[in-house]
């Protein structure tokens, strides 16, 4: 093998090794950091899987904040509310500051895990825009609505 070829071979081998290492790292990191979105019904019916209902898996809970469900003790940060998808409701507890656009009757996506039948949220997101429902929540809610023959709210535009 002439030196040019040998150098190329080494280069290709190094590239392959780097690619393999990168792929492994990426797969590993993705697997650990992906959070699935479930609705209360999927969590409570067990459709989301055992790991979710037992509290082993961190996931995102999507739905609407049920009207009239928001409670908070005077002078304390701890808030409790229910998230609903029309079929089922799930109690959520959160002990940090809620986002500006958090409101009853609005869409919300909370990240956290189940603990003794209650969803303990680490992070709550409401959308920047009051007319905007997160697409992934809208998709899932759309399914629930279709089952209940509820007329869908038109998919509103953001930035209004």
């Amino acid at each position: 093998m002439n030196p040019t070829r040998r150098r190329r071979l080494w280069f290709v081998l190094a590239l392959l090794a780097a690619a393999a290492l990168a792929a492994t790292l990426v797969a590993f990191a993705l697997q650990r950091n992906v959070a699935y979105l479930y609705t209360p019904n999927e969590v409570l019916s067990g459709a989301a899987g055992e790991a979710v209902s037992s509290g082993d898996a961190r996931f995102r809970l999507g739905g609407m904040v049920e009207t009239g469900s928001f409670r908070r003790e005077d002078g304390s940060l701890v808030a409790r509310f229910r998230v609903t998808d029309g079929d089922a409701q799930l109690e959520v507890v959160y002990d940090r500051m809620l986002p500006d656009l958090f409101r009853e009757g609005q869409a919300v996506v909370a990240t956290g895990r189940m603990r003794e039948g209650v969803f303990v949220a680490e992070d709550v997101l409401a959308k920047h825009d009051e007319t905007y429902v997160p697409k992934e929540v809208a998709d899932k809610m759309g399914l629930a609505h279709a089952r209940h023959n509820v007329e869908d709210a038109p998919p509103a535009e953001a930035g209004q």
Binding site: T4, R7, A18, A22, L25, V26, A29, L30, R32, N33, V34, A35, Y36, L37, R60, G62, R72, D74, G75, S76, L77, R96, M97, L98, D100, L101, V109, L125, K127, H128, D129, E130, Y132, P134, K135, E136, D139, K140, P155, E157, A158, G159, Q160
Partner: protein
Amino acid sequence: MLPELGQAALLLALVAALLQALLPLAGAAGGRASWMAVARPAAYAQLALLLFAYAVLTLAFVQQDFSVKYVADNSNSLLPMVYRFTAVWGAHEGSMLLWVLMLAVWNAAVALWSRRLPEVVMARVLGVIGLVAIGFLSFLAFTSNPFLRLLPAPLEGHDLNPLLQDPGMIVHPPMLYVGYIGFVVPFAFAIAALLEGQVDARWLRWARPWTNVAWGFLTLGIMLGSWWAYYELGWGGWWFWDPVENASFMPWLAGAALIHSQAATEKRGSFGGWTLLLAIATFSLSLLGAFLVRSGVLTSVHSFAADPGRGLFILAFLAAVIGGALALYVLRAPGLPQGRPFAAASRETLLLVNNLLLTAACAMVLLGTLYPLLADALALGKVSVGPPYFGTLFIVLMAPLVLLVPLGPLTRWQQEQASRPLALLLPWLGLALALGAVGYFMAPQGPLKTAVGVSAALWVGLGTARFAWSRLRASGRAFTPEMLGMVLGHAGIAVFLVGALLVEAQHVQREVAMSPGDSARIGRYEFRLEGVERVQGPNYVADRGLVQVFRDDRPLALLHPEKRAYASGGQIMTDAGIHAGVFADAFAALGEPLGNGAWAVRLQVKPFVRWIWAGALLMALGGFVTATDRRFRRVSANSPAPRAGARGGTD
């Protein structure tokens, strides 16, 4: 009447773009000088027409012409004057108009400053930019017309999204767009080179400053966005790995790689094909960014209009541009001349590794950003990829790059004795590690991150200074603006590392319930809520907190965090109170009232957070300074780089 004229201007600009694309490209292929001569006037005409359209829309906002739907949707009579100007790009249609205006500015600039290029090359470069302009102008005119009428006109408009009613927003989008769309120039150059079938060092020398300027603006845009998110969203974070942030970060990474590979290709003729591919990739990622932001396919905290028709249009455009460019590349790239051979220990190798790492980081971000889309399409469920994925992998990929940065400038082209630059830098490495160890023992928390941050920043900073010193000392060798730009850019990395790593290691955040008179302590800082008062703004009512901050028990600042309720639509907005300091920021944001006069308050101490943006500023400055090098403006081809088709490859 005026809005109709604005719309007519848009359509005429589209016609001008058609002329600019078709005639010069056909003329270049057939050697017709008169057809090629159309390119420049068409470019100027486009700029004039779009300036007019933009002025019309601005005027509609200033005069509160609610018969224009876009104006009625994005402003109301209470909107302060300055935000009437910025509201023009506050939503989808107007920001698209700004986008095509920026494209027209680059276009006209290329037309103006391309006199040194051979006529055929100029015609092709402008023709390709014209093709891109056709895509964006028809997107604007046919799916996102900002001049649509709303009849009968409403008496009052909605409002500009309160998040955008902020000084940071005045400059963030224009800067970002200038950067994004600026990558059209290296892209057009790459396509022209492929059409020509050769990479000429002279053209590369001509293309380099454009890439540097576009990248500099993109850096500024991203920096301003990060700064805005820091004080306006009330979370106190500076980077969220949000899909829209990623959309701007991917072309930034690819652009950073492109700057380096262009330098190697221009000076040594190395990686000519790779440079062209990278130019195509960088612009494609800019387009992908536009698609991700505007189609609403991704769930993001930013999210623009979610309109599948628009998404489809951009997707088709994206496919045409990327597909066409790559097909051309596959056809033509194998015929490109090879550069001069280089040894394993050489600056070429280091630049190659730089490119490898930056593109790998870019691919990693791309994968993480698109993974939710893929998973959804493959029915794997609705997922999101968490920041730890990006953070971990980014650090893994960038750590070796940080190690190599100081070596690059000190290493010779073609062949280098590896021990020489290492010996030059060894004392500085020792110093960086020693001070890192000091940081380890002095840090109140996060000692390991602090040590790594201090060492990495000093290593890059001292190593770069070492290069600058040796250059300045060596008499007879000029210290060119190109070198100065590189030194500034690398120094920017050092400053950025101080900010990013130390703020991650040292920042403290507390969310507490506070009643007036309550205090909370964070390290040396103490925050006391004095009270909350109601204030009236021009178009909002706010609860304004008075938070007295003490450092080491001495009064430091009085912060005024606000919770604003906007008159129109009742949107709630947080405006954080921040005491900015060179070494630390004290940050307070109001949450919601908790009853009994108590408020949820978010308190943070952010050491060195300003250094993040200072570093980015330095990097941008580096890009601009490099572009001023007079070498790039030389007419003749008396450079050491190989001429077109020159022999002297590896085989």
